[in-house]
């Protein structure tokens, strides 16, 4: 890493940054010198990094169905990584350094700050990045929608040119029940649920659409109305392709249009027959399930368990409440504060989805952190960067599961607190009170209307540090699972857990 070049702001992406954005860029971005042959990011990894090439060249290679395709070479002045940074999705290609290069690396929190409107108009950064995304990545991204399986790359590119990008707040209705379906949507990031209300006024979830899934194929069929209301259940970014675009783009290629309609027909028939996709199975189960089971499904969707990657599940019929899981969690953390709380969502009276990090597909904590204190590693796990955390509590408020808590900040800035290790002696009968030690209490975040630190620059007063399950970072075990004497605790996908319980 070295100092940022003086001609930085002459770059066409950075030419109209606001003073605040410039200040952020200078403090957060960094230069990286990569030797030839180095792999900068691999296809399928979560990096979220956006890079601008200042010297040298980087090649993008995508493996698909056994064939490696060169997507392009990025030379001085070019940039790459916008797809991953924009949609928080795994990289679509492997980026390998062809000629020794100097890159300006912009991490996701800073990228989000730069990819914003300046005043009321789009910044150059936003315009150019969106344009390059549309040009380079959208056609690849569109291929994740099953309906496009049979279309060629050039056709997808044409469709992509007329696609619209839509950003929605949580709770925004994308489409209302029974309205005519007039567009196909691809979820770029976030999540959308499809629900309808029954005669008792209860909401029944028909399906949910996570990142990289599509809905609205029915706009290409004769079943034109939406089966339910489509609502964003998290801040969501969608790609919208109006029905008219299909007709105009593929007008000259009737075969492709017919194939598209046939595929869409098949998908809609499948969906309406409640037989093919997991979401349809869930919808069918929801419709058939007795009230109690349906309630569980609603709770899980309401609690947004569907967003979770893997949940820590406690089987209460096996759990002897010995507290070994919490105690072992304490023993692996230097600050002696447990990351695990056994309170959580109870499912069917037998399982508890413990309050432990789900490493969400859509990590709202990370999206809400303006300090770069939360990052996603290549495996998709969410990690906290201790030094960057200012204790603004935005992450703990935005976490749908409430698994992030706050601990007092260290006495000496930059140093992790070290507490005496005799906390477990407190649990001894009669004499435990003499071993209260210096273990700090966990600060439960207070609900505040305003967060004065949000959007502030570095140097904000540190109020505390956010902590959550780190999957026992760097250790050869996950302490709670490893130390349970009855195998009552383990990691499971909440959706699969629900399906297994139903069956």
């Amino acid at each position: 890493m070295s100092e940022l070049p003086k001609e930085l702001y002459e770059h066409r992406l950075l030419v109209d940054l606001s003073p605040k954005q410039k200040k952020l860029l200078e403090s957060e971005a960094y230069l990286e010198v990569a030797p030839a042959g180095e792999v900068f990011a691999r296809q399928g990894e979560y990096t979220g990094r956006f890079c601008i090439v200042f010297e040298g060249g980087v090649g993008a290679y995508r493996e698909e169905e056994g064939v490696t395709a060169n997507l392009g070479v990025y030379g001085p002045g070019d940039w790459f990584g916008e797809m991953s940074a924009l949609s928080n999705q795994p990289e679509l290609a492997t980026y390998r350094v062809d000629v020794r290069c100097v890159l300006l690396v912009i991490e996701p929190p800073l990228f989000r700050q730069l990819h914003r409107k300046v005043g009321k108009k789009e910044s150059k950064f936003q315009q150019l990045v969106d344009a390059s995304y549309r040009e380079r990545s959208l056609s690849i991204h569109l291929r994740v929608a099953p309906v496009f399986k049979g279309l060629s790359a050039s056709m997808l590119k044409q469709l992509g040119k007329q696609a619209e990008f839509i950003d929605l707040e949580e709770g925004t209705v994308v489409a209302a029940e029974n309205d005519p379906a007039a567009a196909l949507f691809l979820v770029r990031s976030g999540a959308v649920k499809c629900s309808k209300t029954d005669h008792r006024g209860r909401e029944i979830i028909l399906s949910y659409h996570m990142a990289n899934s599509s809905f609205g194929e029915r706009c290409l069929t004769d079943h034109r109305s939406w089966p339910g209301a489509y609502t964003a259940i998290a801040p969501t970014s969608l790609i919208r392709i109006p029905e008219a675009v299909f007709a105009s783009t593929l007008a000259t290629n009737e075969g492709a249009l017919a194939l598209l309609r046939k595929t869409a027909d098949f998908m809609v028939a499948d969906e309406e027959g409640f037989s093919a996709s997991d979401s349809a199975i869930l919808a069918q189960r929801a419709a058939e399930a007795p009230a109690a089971s349906q309630e569980q499904l609603e709770i899980m969707v309401g609690r947004q368990s569907v967003k979770g990657g893997e949940a820590l599940v406690i089987n209460l019929d096996q759990c002897v409440r010995c507290n070994a899981c919490v105690e072992s969690c304490v023993s692996v953390h230097e600050d002696r504060v447990p990351r695990l709380s056994k309170t959580g969502t109870r499912v069917q009276d037998t399982f508890t989805l413990a309050s432990s990090c789900y490493n969400c597909e859509v990590p709202e904590c990370m999206m809400s952190c303006d300090y770069g204190a939360i990052r996603r590693d290549v495996k998709g796990q969410i990690n906290f960067v201790w030094d960057n955390c200012v204790g603004c509590q935005c992450c703990s408020h935005s976490c749908p599961y409430g698994v992030i808590s706050m601990t007092p900040p260290p006495i000496v800035p930059g140093e992790k607190p070290k507490y005496k290790r005799h906390w477990f002696l407190q649990t001894l009968p009669f004499v435990g009170k003499y071993f209260t030690g210096s273990r700090p209490a966990v600060m439960m975040p207070e609900i505040k209307e305003e967060h004065p630190n949000v959007g502030a620059l570095r140097g904000a007063k540190v109020q505390g540090k956010a902590i959550k399950c780190d999957l026992c970072e760097g250790l050869p075990f996950e302490a709670c699972v490893y130390n349970c004497p009855t195998d009552a605790i383990g990691r499971e996908n909440p959706e699969q857990l629900f399906l297994s319980m139903e069956s």
Partner: protein
């Protein structure tokens, strides 16, 4: 009933061992002169007791944070680099360029070794529903899961009890023998009771926790304590005294709420505050009652430990004395 506690290969090993010694015992005829049997069964019993104690040692060493696995910690950057290289391998697998499981594992293991993380993560090659190969990196769990140690503790403990009985020839010959056999019996029986309680009681507690779990009751009590403390601050001294009296006496709240009203007969605001405080105290008493009921079930689940733990400590001491005295004389 939680039958998971009974599913263990250690049960088979322990049963086989005990059976072998039982056959040997009944085939020796004259136990008095069968020195080799007594020698063999004694040392085997000692090894079994050591294995039983190993569980206790492993549990507490880990709790104290001095377990050897803690030294295996690797920096996150190393893990990320290894994961990044594994991603490359996964791309090859998903694109169909690499299909041989042996080659996949060999390449993966080599990557982990080169990055120096092979002691922290290991590889598993799984197949998904569509039959595609999935390469997963999972923790190595170097000492094995505690549940396996628990199984070993249970079954080698039971086997050790039987071995002591065989070692004593079915009938203790001395006061030391009686002490050993008696304590072993107490430890084994309390342990069996423990297995039964651990198998049965979690479900009972789970049912009782349907409305409020122990953990939630803890959190709720903490929150109510804070609210009560705040509410006490907002009332005057005489109202506080009445409320404290009600809280301590544990009398019926509907009867005593009148007393609270009388404490502030004129001032409507003071009366409202007193009533709020009374309501909070009532809630706290109710939650505390439910919490105590749950705790009673929880205590019943662990009551066997009251006998098992002291008897086990005593047994360890007696075994030590027995071994030292036998070797000495």
């Amino acid at each position: 009933m939680n039958t998971e506690l009974f599913k263990s290969r250690h049960a088979f090993v322990a049963g086989l061992l005990l059976l072998g010694f039982a056959v040997w015992f009944f085939s020796t005829g004259d136990w008095e002169s069968a020195r080799s049997f007594r020698f063999g069964s004694g040392w085997t019993a000692l090894v079994l007791f050591a294995m039983v104690l190993a569980y206790v040692l492993r549990k507490n060493v880990h709790k104290a944070g001095i377990s050897p696995e803690f030294k295996m910690r690797v920096p996150l950057a190393k893990l990320e680099k290894a994961e990044s290289r594994l991603s490359g391998l996964r791309v090859l697998i998903s694109s169909g360029k690499l299909t041989d499981p042996a080659e996949i594992m060999e390449r993966g293991k080599a990557m982990l070794k080169q990055e120096g993380v092979q002691r922290v993560i290991k590889l598993r090659l799984l197949e998904n529903a569509e039959g595609q190969q999935i390469l997963r990196a999972v923790p190595t769990d170097p000492l094995g899961r505690m549940a396996r140690w628990m199984h070993a503790h249970l079954y080698y403990g039971l086997a050790a009890g039987g071995m002591v009985w065989l070692h004593a020839g079915g009938m203790p010959q001395s006061s030391m023998g009686y002490a050993l056999a008696g304590l072993t019996l107490v430890v084994v029986l309390s342990g069996i009771g423990g297995i039964f309680l651990w198998a049965v009681m979690p479900r009972i507690l789970t049912k009782a926790e349907r409305d409020l779990s122990v953990e939630k009751a803890h959190a709720l009590l903490d929150s109510l304590d804070r609210k009560v403390a705040l509410a006490y601050e907002s009332v005057d001294a005489s109202t506080r005294a009445v409320c404290e009296d009600v809280d301590k006496s544990g009398e019926n709240f509907t009867q005593r709420i009148e007393a609270a009203r009388k404490a502030a007969p004129e001032d409507a605001e003071a009366r409202r505050q007193a009533e709020d405080l009374m309501a909070l105290l009532g809630q706290r008493r109710q939650v505390r009652g439910e919490w105590k009921a749950l705790m009673r079930i929880k205590q019943r689940m662990h009551v066997w430990r009251v006998v098992h733990l002291p008897a086990a400590v005593l047994l360890s001491v007696v075994i030590l004395i027995h071994v030292v005295s036998v070797l000495w004389y």
